[in-house]
Amino acid sequence: MHAKMMIALAKEVRGIARASGSGSSCGRWHLRIAPRPLTAHTRLGGSLGGCSSVLACGPGSPSRLPCNNDNVPRKREFEMKYMMLVCRDPSIELSPEQRTTIGPEVEAWISEMDGRGVRVQGQELEGVQDATTIRVRGGEVVVADGPFAETKEQIAGFDILDCADLDEAMEVAAKHPVAWLGSLELRPFAEG
């Protein structure tokens, strides 16, 4: 990237940070997602048509699954909220049969967890090939193509869970079909 452009971008980024008043607390502000029931107005996913939670298939054929999040009233309000990062291990290949069954399995998981009021929201993400990573170093914005860390497992989506405790979150995660194809990382929301 051209140096001038980077400086311009840096100014812009700093301006945004000042305006939102959260320049230094990175990693926190974007996790403060309202724990109240989602309505049609607050749903994520835009034109993708909903909040599928998982990248179920290989990088070439992302499947987007609908969910009934918008219609289900959430009754529960527990203390513990977790961001569940859905990580796909690309080295685990799906059999043709698995390719056809994984979608419905994920859908079943979504409707079960929505029904239980455990799942606040969730979203599948585009693959790492479409990721852009931003860093500000020495006052300059450094833009990189790709994910922030080269790891074997890639974040394919996320779900926000509202659970009684870690035991429930572990049970919910273990039921997720991607538990067989990668891993699920449960990160509690920071307090305060």
Binding site: L166, D167, A169, M170, P188, E191
Partner: protein
């Protein structure tokens, strides 16, 4: 301090520490506060019991002192927090007296230690932290003692404990006995932690001569507690019996110079009969429940050794059969090795050697000194001395403690110089 008061405090410590900490954690959810207040209660006892006399109910006395300390501390913190909130204009209108009320409640104490055990051994905590936390919160060992027991620097152990407590609080690890559907899985997790603790002590006792807390004693004590708290869980009886059988041999396991004495060469009159009798009773009781599990099977194997009056009278056929049973439930590599030893003893060194060789070629236990040591032993008994010597050398290089190396070197020397003697080794 008077001897009587000192003894009473020591006794109270083993009995009451875990109980007090467990109760205070339930009421305050603050692990550090609970430990501090328990500590202060014992310090207070050390000050007052020698002059005032030992109270009639030491446990209740200690609990009251610890609870009062906790209330004082919480009040103090509340006041400070209230001032801070006031300053920030964020006065919270919730009632602050809830916990104080709760602190007066004495019910459910019997279960508190069980809650504490399950929480300390929660699978979301790293294994080494589970062991350390159990020793700290339940057994009352200091951070320094735990650090020494595991041969890690004190700051490392302190950090390990702080992180574990932080995770319990922030990740939402519940403070409770798990619900019924999780109990079997979580119980075997707890048993594994206690057995790991015991094995750590067992291995360390032949290591360097540091003054250390005896982890075996702590593990046995905790296993006794668990067995009392979970009388309907036969595996907790199985684990306790297994530990007691192994522990009963501690005097005979090493000679005066600290060298290892193998099971068959041990002076069986030095085995602790009281513990063996206890273990037999506990195991009989456990197997009567007819829900056999890996710890009961291992205890049954240990019983075969403990109850044989002489090494030659050991029922190796039964032991080999029990190992086969064990392999059906846990395909553990160490059990495969022990199975090979038992088969070798029951049906002859060729059969044992075949099993050990298969294990060696599979690459399992590659870094474990007892694999080549066992192979060496079978080779020696078959008169294949030069192959045996090679295997002993391999074992010496892998051995972890000085005593193990000395023992293996002695064996190596024997096969390198003299004719093959007629006995065999084994744990």
């Amino acid at each position: 301090m008077s001897r009587q008061a000192a003894l009473a405090i020591e006794e109270a410590f083993t009995e009451e520490w875990g109980r007090i900490v467990a109760a205070l954690i339930r009421r305050t959810r603050d692990w550090d506060l609970a430990e501090d207040c328990a500590q202060q209660a014992f310090a207070e006892a050390a000050r007052r019991w020698p002059s005032d006399g030992v109270p009639r109910q030491p446990g209740a006395w200690l609990m009251t002192v610890a609870r009062n300390r906790a209330i004082d501390r919480l009040r103090h913190e509340r006041m400070r927090d209230a001032r801070l909130r006031e300053a920030a204009g964020l006065i919270d209108d919730r009632s602050d007296d809830e916990d104080d009320e709760d602190l007066g409640d004495e019910r459910g104490i019997g279960d508190d230690r069980l809650r504490l055990i399950f929480t300390c051994c929660h699978p979301a905590l790293p294994l080494e932290a589970r062991v350390a936390l159990t020793l700290r919160a339940l057994a009352g060992l200091t951070t320094t003692e735990i650090a020494n027991a595991f041969l890690v620097p004190k700051p490392t152990m302190a950090k390990r404990l702080v992180r574990a407590k932080h995770k319990i609080e922030h990740a939402g690890i519940p403070y409770r006995v798990p619900p019924a559907h999780l109990v079997p899985e979580r119980t075997s997790g707890v048993l594994a932690v206690l057995y790991l603790m015991f094995n750590e002590g067992y291995a360390a006792s032949t290591g360097d001569d540091l003054v250390r807390v005896d982890l075996c004693v702590e593990a046995v004590r905790l296993a006794r507690l668990l067995n009392r708290l979970m009388p309907d869980e036969p595996e907790s009886g199985g684990l306790l019996a297994l530990m007691l059988f192994q522990h009963s041999r501690r005097e005979a396991r090493t000679d005066p110079s600290g060298d290892i004495v193998t099971l068959e060469e041990q002076d069986r009159s030095r085995w602790n009969r009281t513990e063996i009798d206890q273990a037999n009773t506990i195991l009989d009781e456990a197997v009567r429940a007819d829900a056999i599990g890996p710890y009961q099977v291992q205890a049954l194997i240990a019983a075969c050794h403990a109850n044989a009056p002489r090494a030659a009278g050991t029922d190796w056929t039964r032991i080999a059969a029990l190992y086969e049973r064990l392999l059906e439930v846990t395909a553990n590599r160490l059990i495969k090795l022990n199975h090979a030893v038992a088969v070798g003893m029951a049906t002859g060194p060729e059969a044992g050697l075949a099993l050990v060789t298969r294990l060696a070629t599979s690459g399992e236990l590659r870094d474990y000194h007892l694999l080549p040591a066992t192979r060496a032993d079978f080779l020696r008994r078959l008169g294949r001395n030069s192959e045996a010597a090679d295997a002993y050398r391999e074992a010496v290089n892998l051995a972890r403690t000085e005593a193990e190396r000395r023992y293996l070197n002695k064996r190596l020397q024997a096969v390198s110089t003299g004719p093959a003697p007629a006995e065999a080794g084994g744990g």
